[in-house]
């Protein structure tokens, strides 16, 4: 393997992480946009997505089917888990996040952190053998019988990973179109910019908040599903770190801006991957370096890469 192919392989691996971080970061940005809260339970919603999809895989008996039924069930599992987790996201928003959003920032911070811990511990206690690492089946391999990967000059691009990346990118583009081109997107942006003025114009603010939490949580569920497919194992506490990374990615990109969240997600992943690759023994310090970059951003450019000072959010 030449150093170029090593480099390219590392970039590809970084992109795989980047798309997952981005999908989580988008949620942080959306919620901050419409409700001015940082929802620290979002990482655990992501974990919930992985567990709900694993449950659905078992319930539907997906692994025992093949052919068109398999593809149909697979898509059904993804969509159902997004709907269920999206619904749960709205539920949590109604009972915890929104009630505290009007109070001091500290209140919503503590409330959402607490909510996250409650979700995590609930999965650990009530999911069968919840404290163990769960195997997540390699669902996509079945779609590519025979060969598993393209190999080019030592670079391995697995078909299932390419599919994950493609789906992630398509979803992100669809989201951007939804926010920018549809009427609902327009109202979301309106609420983000000035909730009071939007209300005066006849926008149902509560509905918009619900919709936003539904979208954000459903995307986190998708990220959780992808994470399961990518690592083939999930565990109840996977959301803790994912939440912090997603939040940091949103901050780097500019909290409240969805393009920023996407850029931030990829940037965070690349900083991690490249510092592990280029710095001697960097793998020990890659998280430290990535978070140091976050701190630098907070100090020198608190509005992030794409965050606009005019508060034009979402």
């Amino acid at each position: 393997m030449s150093s170029t192919s090593i480099f390219l392989q590392i970039i590809f691996n970084g992109a795989m992480l980047g798309i997952q971080y981005s999908l989580i970061a988008v949620g942080f940005s959306l919620f901050f946009g419409v409700l001015d809260v940082i929802n620290f339970a979002h990482g655990d919603i992501f974990m919930l997505g992985a567990f709900v999809s694993l449950t659905l895989i078992n319930v539907t008996g997906l692994l025992n089917t093949s052919g068109a039924t398999y593809v149909f069930l697979l898509i059904l599992v993804i969509i159902l888990s997004m709907i269920i987790v999206g619904g749960l996201g709205v539920f949590f928003e109604r009972i915890v996040v929104k009630p505290v959003s009007k109070g001091p920032t500290l209140m919503s911070l503590v409330a959402t952190l607490g909510l996250g811990i409650a979700i995590r511990e609930a999965v650990r206690l009530f999911y069968p053998r919840g404290s163990e690492t769960k195997r997540f089946p390699e669902l996509l391999v079945k779609l590519f019988p025979g060969k598993e990967a393209i190999e080019f000059k030592g670079i391995i691009l697995r078909y299932d990973n390419l599919l994950i990346l493609a789906v992630g990118i398509i979803v992100v583009i669809l989201l951007a179109l939804y926010i920018n081109k549809t009427k609902m997107g327009l109202t979301i942006r309106a609420v983000a910019q000035d909730a009071e003025a939007a209300s005066m114009m006849g926008v149902n603010k509560n509905l918009i908040i619900d919709v936003t939490f539904f979208i954000g949580s459903a995307l986190a569920a998708l990220a959780g599903f992808m994470n399961g497919l990518y690592y083939n194992s999930i565990i109840f506490d996977m959301g803790a770190m994912a939440g912090i990374v997603g939040f940091s990615a949103a901050v780097i990109g500019g909290l409240g801006n969805i393009y920023g969240a996407i850029v931030g997600g990829f940037l965070f992943a690349m900083v991690e991957s490249l510092s592990a690759a280029l710095i001697p023994r960097g793998s020990e310090f890659m998280t430290v370096i990535a978070f140091a970059v976050v701190i630098l951003f907070l100090v020198f450019r608190p509005s992030g890469i794409l965050g606009e000072r005019a508060y034009e959010r979402v």
């Binding site: 392989q9 023994r281 793998s283």
Partner: protein, 411 residues
Amino acid sequence: MKGPLRLVGLGIIILLVFSPLLVFNYGCKPKEEEKKVVKIGFIGPLTGKYSKMGIGGLNSFKLAVMQQNNSGKNKYIYEVVPFDDECVPQKGVEVATKCCSDPEIVAAATHYCSMVAISCVDVYHKFGLPAIVWGAVLPDITYGNDYKEVSRVNGTQVEQNEFNAHLMVDELGFKKFCIIHDTTDYGRGHLKYFLKALKKRGIEPLSIDGITIGQKDFTTILTKIKALKPEVVYFGGLTAEGALIKSQMDKLGVKAQFLGTSGIKSDDFNTSLGEHAEGTICMLDGAPIEKMPGGLEFKKAYEEAGFKEPYEAYGPFAYCAANIIIKAVEKVGPDREKLVEEIDKTDTEDIIGRIHFNEYGQNDVPLVTAYVSQDGQWVPWEDSLYAKGERELPGFAYREGREWVNPYQGP
């Protein structure tokens, strides 16, 4: 009439109020009323990622105590007080302090995780509580101090890695190693002693990479490792990260033998990886259960006791720790100071064979067994189809530049 009636009524009320006491006292009057209850502690990870190891240890510990209590020969009745260290050092120190502060607890079997055990040894020394380590393998836990309170029934990383290098280099003939270790004291210990054992054989590893606990993505270091074309990837760390590394090695096409330590010798490694676990080698102190002098009886008793969880890799050691403690208490009584002296002198036979504590409190009759993952089970190396030549190790095929065909198709 009022007076006597009232008296009778009062009498009935008094009788009713105290009757449960009478019945209780009468009904529960123990036959061995004079036997004193002695509390002994057990500390291990009872929740979290390594809860299976902890619960397996606790069950085995309880089994020994149950057997001793039921034998009727003892002077005392023993009661187990379990504590959960979650495999987190801070939490470990907290529960160790709690355990030590309970004056009724006279001794304890402590810790599966090395990083927890090493943080807690000072606590046991300070409080003078005899603590027998039942699962942690970092040498410094016993060798790094002169605390009489701390001793250990299982072996250490020194013997494990020496044996590991012996098998891989001297017997199987591998020469090119890449090392990955976690950055805890535990992982660094494995790195140190494996390096030492390799250097003794004149081998320098191609690379050394540290990873952090909880890390999920190892593709970057594995990409680097792939370019170095090692024959063996050694991992000094625990199951959670070990399983992820193995799975990502396969996905990235790192064609090398995967080699672990006692840290990955858990059923979780096989269940979470399925067919990808096949052909992985790891080490464990002690003999396989079937070959331990009392292994089969232990296995049978464990099953009969009706524990739902498996006893896992270090259960037999926890069982022996309980026996050592009880034997000492029977001899010198429930007194911490005397127990420290007594346990320090341990030289006994138990299900794992002879147990003799040297001047550091370390059981110096160590025995290491290599295991290979075969059809989703850890099989002792000598008994495996791989050692018999019926199956080929992935490392052998890759060394000769061939593809390796996985004989195991998953559960």
